[in-house]
Symmetry: C2
Subunit: 84 residues, 2 copies
């Protein structure tokens, strides 16, 4: 593996894992009023396109990281709707 690939994988892991503390915080606080629907909707749509991009170029890291990110981001949107 090239050092470039390692850097990209580390970057992808961080940006994906970053959604976990938000999911935990929102779940515990039962509050998401300060979170923007616009942000998470546009972001999820973008992540869905990254997923499609990963499938077309057959890149497993892009597919896996964006699939996990999509699930976490949609989870935040659902919690925001639920806890309102």
């Amino acid at each position: 593996m090239q050092s470039n690939d390692l850097l990209g994988m580390l970057a992808g892991t961080l940006t994906t894992v970053s959604f976990v503390p938000q999911v935990i915080k929102t779940w515990k606080s039962r509050s998401a009023k300060d979170i923007s629907y616009g942000m998470f909707t546009l972001f999820s749509l973008g992540v869905l396109l990254w997923l499609a991009y990963g499938l077309t170029i057959q890149s497993t890291p892009i597919v896996v990281s964006n699939l996990v990110t999509l699930i976490l981001a949609l989870g935040i949107i659902l919690m925001k709707a639920w806890f309102k």
Copy 2:
């Protein structure tokens, strides 16, 4: 340009632009207590690595989109600290 590239650029534009409504919402409401520091810190660190990755592979779209995202994400962190 390949259709793959177009898909990737569209995906990158959406995930970057998605931070704008959050910045506007936080700025207007002067409140960011429901936003996780953990998420935005890990995310910014990941975006910084994506930026480094973009520089090493000399990809302008990756560099530009991650530079803009980094500025927006850091802006949200600063506003959260400021409005507390």
